[in-house]
Amino acid sequence: MVTRLKDVDAVTVGFGWTGAILARELTKAGLNVVGLERGPDRVPGEDFILPSVRDEVKYGQRLELMMDNSIDTITFRNFPDEQALPIRRIGAFLPGEGTGGSGIHWGALLWRNLPSDFRIRSALTERYGKNAVPDDMTIADWPVSYDELEPFYDHFDKICGASGQAGNLRGKKIDGGNVFEGSRSEHYPNAPIKSSNAGLMYAAAAKSLGYHPFPAPVAIASEAFTNPEGVTLGACEYCGYCNRIACETNSKASANSTILPVLRLDPKFELRSRCFVTKLNYDKTAKRVVSVTYTDMRNGEEYEQPAGIVILSSFVFSNVQHLLLAGISEPYDHDSGKGVVGKNYAYQYEAGANAFFEDKELNPYWGSAGMGVVIDDFNGENFDHGGLGFFGGGYIAGNTAGAPPIAGRTVPGGTPEWGSEWKRATVKWYHHAMRFNTQGSVYANRNNYMDLDPTYKDVFGRPLIRLSYNPPDNEYKMSQFLLSKLEGVIKAMNPTSYDMHPRPKTFTVVPYQSTHNTGGTMMGTDPKGSVVNRYLQAWDAHNLFIQGASVFPQQHGYNPTGTLGALAYWSAQAITTKYLKNPGPLVQG
């Protein structure tokens, strides 16, 4: 028995960054908005407080803030001719659950794509010839340009109280910032967060090789800052615990700390947590999603919530699953290459290294998520790929993001993984170890995609999303190249020893690599090649706006949150200024 509820103006399916942004912007425009979130409500004053927040076992190891695999998971296989198996405990990536979503436990790196990333197919064709892009590399230009998104990037910077050093302010290059970045209309709202001794060593070595080091841009306030919503963010205390853990001082930005404090006061907004949306009810003739069906996880009751506008703002896998189950747009067919839903999945290609400095005191216990020094010289089209045999690239970082008691014990390669020798090594090296990372792009490939699993189902009986993914040779070569550049910087730092950590050619779903999953509902210029238009409006359901990294046509060499936040504000503006006046397709397909 499904209870049909009273009609509302808009509903969000999922309530992380994009759900909160859309709910806030739509209520400001006068709409009544219901936020549906499958997980619990997370309130800073209850859930982000000392001493419980610094529980590395609970959050770091037992993954308290992440999706509950007893309810829902995905199945995985490397190649389309294999049998996919369910991931019983998430590992390589950690989608969040509860209000704030993955934007609570994130590392808070706040990047923008390069201007050339937004037109990557055109850029590669122009630079390397019209046949340069291989047939199986299904990359596409974004249907929106850097310049169009820039004001929205800037606004999201301010919402987050971002800290960093501009490298290109209104076209003027600034030494000490990222000189490769697109032109920014304004400085970061806050000065960069501090650099550790290790970060300074990395910067000096990178500079000696002619590279352009700069402090990593983060959604963490380096000083007290009041954002455009009138919410004050605190100065980072450098506690060193914030990866996988919430922020105890409202410094690391989350929807919970930057938007929800004002949204919760708005009578036009209602949050319903522990409400798991299982179905979008799609009227194919009218090209509308008329309602969503959800289960209240506290009592198992089912409800149908009709809404004028549906914001699909769940994680990448759920966004794709909803469309496939509802029959919205054509599913991607691997054999023929036709169809769009599930197409162009990509997963950030990260690989790293550790280095050890016997005589240097690195004080690794302090730091903040994302803290580090970065070079962007080998990202995207910042360098010539002529003769290299691959496209893409990434940034190369020296990380000093804290070294908490369990996860922060970096020891040289060859050390036993337990026992007295391991203990001796952790004591010897704790103060002298540094980690590095390369954050590589993944250009979409026809063999990497999502569809519905024919065998395995979730707790509601719905087919799980089946992920078929292996990094293509292009990405493997790209990563080897980035690691070779990183090794050069490490050698210039003159360490006692170091270990490079290339990724195996075959992707595995453990250990943790990054939560940067993208694609599956890609944005584009026409309904044949994409699921949503430039305003994130579904081509086949004009009142459905799909948010988040699932709309990325491919993955560039940057963390996705900056771009998905900017896109959310861009999409919200299109809804409030265009769609509300004239509900219908905003772009003719």
Partner: protein
């Protein structure tokens, strides 16, 4: 001469509540009146009993501190929170600049 003037004019100057409002920004991230705040509201804190904001879950240490937030106690607490109420859970190391402390307390007196 110049130095002497600067030092004395600072000591003689009345605490500046306007500047205290700026200093208060460092507190406001947690001590806000908005829903879900990490710290208790500081409206009317001067003269209040410690641990007395209704509905706020204090640490055991603060719940049993049994202080009145007069100027002297506030000053000691803000300057070094763990020294004054050992085991409280405010993640703040302390405000050490005496001028800032004067100005902040001047602001809090009027913050109601």
């Amino acid at each position: 001469m110049g130095l002497w003037l600067t030092a004395n004019s600072h000591a003689a100057a009345a605490a500046n509540a306007d500047h205290g409002k700026v200093v208060f920004q460092n507190c406001a991230a947690c001590h806000s009146d908005k829903p879900g705040a990490i710290g208790p509201s500081l409206r009317g804190v001067v003269g209040r009993k410690s641990g007395s904001v209704e509905g706020f879950h204090y640490s055991g240490a603060m719940a049993h501190a049994n202080l009145t937030w007069d100027e002297a106690n506030l000053r000691d607490y803000i300057a070094n929170p763990q020294a004054k109420v050992r085991g409280n859970r405010m993640p703040y190391g302390g405000l050490t600049n005496p001028g800032d402390l004067d100005d902040l307390i001047a602001y809090l007196k009027d913050y109601k």
